[in-house]
């Protein structure tokens, strides 16, 4: 398959995010019972962000050596705009879902003793999950339009 520089760049970023945040959220699931987003959780998040940055830098250096970097033209920018639109819809939906989740959990707790508890740990990670999903949506939309074309 003949991939352009932009497609290779996006594919690398997509894989880096899937691997690093896949590992991060697997660890989050194991600790889902934690009440607070404490120092340990923050350290894990910072390590995930640093890992993404390092992988992206190394990958793009290798990519630049292997294939000549091309500046973005109008088609790249148009595809990026469409990708940001889809990512925005996903992020906005996620934000509303997290807000609804917190409100409903509060109401349920006030109405009757319940096991439904939305801790700060879960809230922070839900927000982060939707941010990551929005980014993945952006990459996938870009790859889709690069393959399918814009008409």
């Amino acid at each position: 398959m003949d991939l352009s520089y932009q497609e290779k760049s996006i594919l690398g970023s997509l894989l880096a995010m899937v691997v690093v945040y896949g590992y991060y959220f697997a660890a989050v699931l194991r600790d889902a019972g934690r009440p607070e987003f404490d120092g340990g959780s923050l350290t894990r998040l910072i390590l995930a962000v640093i890992a993404i940055i390092v992988i992206e830098i190394v990958y793009h250096i290798v990519l630049a050596l292997e294939s000549k970097p091309e500046p973005k033209d109008e088609r790249d920018i148009l595809i990026e705009c469409k990708a940001y639109r889809n990512a925005y819809f996903l992020l906005a939906t996620g934000a509303f879902l997290v807000i609804a989740c917190v409100i409903m959990a509060t109401l349920a707790r006030e109405a009757a003793p319940t096991r439904i508890i939305v801790t700060p740990f879960i809230t922070v990670n839900l927000v982060l999950l939707f941010m990551v999903l929005a980014e993945l949506m952006k990459f996938l939309t870009q790859l889709f339009y690069y393959r399918q074309g814009l008409r």
Partner: protein, 79 residues
């Protein structure tokens, strides 16, 4: 409602100009080679500015490069 589609003769015009490569055309127009490929395959309709630049590279009017074809509700060509 009629449906429109932009067709182009970029590939033929390139070969008429002593087989100009996609890379050469891309550099003259100021886009990437991938965009030239997408235009030739009718997968991308360029902006008016890029369309004019392509026509200028070939030294022909815009209509000689791009054509707007419409198809009526009955499927007939209504160019």
């Amino acid at each position: 409602m009629t449906k429109g589609r932009i067709r182009n003769n970029v590939r033929r015009l390139r070969f008429d100009r002593s087989e100009m490569t996609q890379q050469e055309l891309a550099e003259k127009v100021g886009v990437t080679r991938q965009t030239v490929i997408a235009i030739e395959q009718d997968k991308y309709s360029p902006s008016l500015e890029v369309a004019f630049r392509i026509a200028r590279v070939f030294g022909v009017p815009l209509e000689a490069v791009f054509q707007y074809e419409t198809t009526g509700p009955d499927g007939n060509d209504a160019r």
